[in-house]
């Protein structure tokens, strides 16, 4: 069995050299980073110096760009419009925003709550961090990259804490991570296919629609399960599906000590692959990974959410290297989020020791369902982009985008509230228990 584990690890290490997989989508290609040296207002040309190079290039401003859009001597990200000709600029993004107090405080708070959720249910934060950063004015690619780079150290700290509480199954995490990385690649291939055939709007629609369906279906089931457990007051049982899966006897059979599950390696493969595919599209693989481990493999919610942190660590580290190679990580954003999230993740991790299994399921389900609302609110806009429905009125478009954003904030806020209440109750109960025990032993 150990041999197999080493083979898997070996494959994990070699894979990036053979092929490049990017969790959260691949870094963009037609982008140049550097500084504008001067602007010629009449000729509509700019002198641009690429990062790390001495020589300069002449670039032409695109048709809908104004010379006043160009900020001289500030590091920018320039995307080129290959269809309009050589060296024509499509858009310019300032790479590094000035850090105002408001931005710093926002990053700290989002980090803290995102970390809390992550430590508790194994994933989360990423789905709200990227849009939140973008709404602060960070260019999309930088937001994804900086978020990715914050994810893996956070997951590492969370995984370590939960390993110490005896909840994380390292072997299961490694096995799942290998297949998840393969899933990421499949996810990207799929995305590229849709992008080539249906364009950007088609790809957006695909992501929103498919994953809204997945989130509603899986989230709804998890919620139903949590509700049943909370009503009945009984301990969580292994699902019927998982019991059937555990009976499948195709070698190699693997025994996961912490999870107390003996199952064929082949059953873990689809769970891992779907986790990766989801990670490649909405950057939160855990929404499939955790329920998959609970209902297909038969682990408890507490073990599944802890093991997900190991998967998140491996995939996050991988993605960070990829995004780092293209030089898009704004380390200031990464470290500011980490300042809050490292506290949050440890708080969430210790919180799991005070609650029953169904509380974890409840938090997970409510988060998934509210994120589904956020995705759903985007669908009418994408349908209009594809000419499948009349264009949205500006007022409606604005309302929908507000609904989408605030649904994410609500998801984060409500999860934080449930976790805090459950934890405070659990701690109070534990104290009362300790006191009663003390009285009994003294008396």
């Amino acid at each position: 069995m150990k041999k197999l584990l080493f083979i898997l690890l070996g494959a994990l290490l070699i894979l990036p050299m053979v092929n490049s997989a990017y969790a959260g989508g691949p870094p963009p290609k037609d982008i140049m980073k550097g500084v504008f040296l001067n602007v010629d207002n009449n000729a509509r040309t700019v002198t641009f110096q690429k990062d790390g190079k001495k020589e300069t290039v002449e670039l032409i401003l695109g048709a809908d760009m104004k010379p006043s859009d160009v900020r001289v001597n500030k590091k920018v990200m320039v995307s080129l419009d290959k269809h309009a000709g050589e060296n024509v600029i499509k858009s310019i993004d300032i790479m590094f925003l000035d850090m105002t107090i408001k931005r710093i405080i926002s990053l700290l708070v989002i980090g803290l709550i995102g970390g809390l959720l992550s430590g508790f249910i194994g994933s989360g934060g990423a789905f709200v961090l990227t849009p939140a950063m973008m709404s602060l004015g960070v260019p999309g690619a930088i937001a994804v990259a900086s978020n990715m780079c914050h994810k893996f150290p956070k997951a590492m700290v969370g995984a370590y804490k939960r390993y110490k509480y005896g909840q994380a199954d390292i072997k299961l995490g490694l096995v799942m991570a290998v297949t998840a990385i393969i899933g990421v690649q499949i996810g990207i291939k799929f995305q590229k296919y849709i992008l080539n055939h249906f364009g950007n709007a088609g790809s957006n629609l695909y992501v929103s629609f498919i994953f809204m369906v997945v989130l509603v279906f899986v989230g709804g089931y998890v919620l139903y399960d949590a509700y049943k457990l909370s009503k009945g007051g009984e301990e969580a049982k292994v699902s019927k599906l998982a019991l059937r899966m555990q009976k499948i006897n195709i070698p190699p059979m693997m025994y996961f000590k912490v999870a107390k599950v003996r199952i064929s390696f082949w059953v873990t493969v689809p769970v891992g692959i779907f986790t990766g595919m989801l990670a490649a599209t909405i950057a939160v693989g855990g929404f499939i990974g955790v329920p998959g481990m609970i209902y297909v493999l038969g682990t408890s919610a507490v073990i599944a959410s802890a093991t997900e942190l190991i998967i998140a660590f491996i995939m996050g580290a991988w993605g960070s290297i990829q995004w780092g190679l293209s030089g898009l990580i704004d380390i200031r954003l990464t470290l500011l989020i980490l300042a809050g999230s490292l506290i949050g993740v440890q708080l969430g991790a210790l919180g799991t020791t005070y609650v029953k299994d169904y509380t974890i399921k409840l938090v997970m389900a409510s988060t998934m369902l509210i994120v589904a609302v956020s995705r759903g609110a985007k669908i009418p806009g994408y349908l209009a982009d594809l000419n499948l429905r009349p264009a949205l009125e500006p007022q409606l478009a604005h309302t929908l985008s507000q609904v989408s954003y605030w649904a994410l904030v609500t998801a984060l806020g409500s999860a934080a509230l449930i976790i805090t209440v459950a934890m405070v109750r659990g701690m109070a109960a534990a104290k009362a228990e300790a006191r009663t025990e003390g009285i009994v032993s003294h008396g």
Partner: protein, 116 residues
């Protein structure tokens, strides 16, 4: 001083009862003594103030250095290629230092995991 007198008194009382043949009462005196000691000396639960201050200071210095050298950091860290190691290693280093600070902070605040 007071507590020592009390302890001495209790021990003597226990001896007196024991000599008088009332072993149970004597044992009661001694037992009470032991539980009291347990209650006042939770050495294992000492709060990690030193760790909190040291890691907190190092972490804070790191953040100050980052914010005061923004220009240099932003430039060097985004060169791409092997410069990818900069953000990855920095994030890891911060997670160790700031993570240790956060862990100590929670302990000092009295937030500990439940022992199963």
């Amino acid at each position: 001083m007071d507590s020592k007198v009390t302890k001495f008194d209790k021990n003597m009382s226990a001896v007196t009862f024991a000599e008088a043949g009332e072993f149970e009462t004597a044992a009661e005196f001694l037992q009470e003594e032991r539980t009291e000691e347990e209650a006042v000396s939770p050495i294992a639960k000492k709060k990690p103030y030193a760790g909190l201050v040291i890691f907190g200071a190092v972490s804070l210095c790191g953040y100050i250095a980052l914010m005061t050298h923004q220009g240099w950091v932003s430039n060097e860290y985004t060169m791409g290629g092997w410069h990818a190691a900069y953000p990855v290693v920095t994030a890891l280093a911060f997670s160790f230092i700031h993570g240790a600070f956060a862990s100590n902070l929670l302990s000092v605040l009295g937030l500990e995991a439940k022992n199963h």
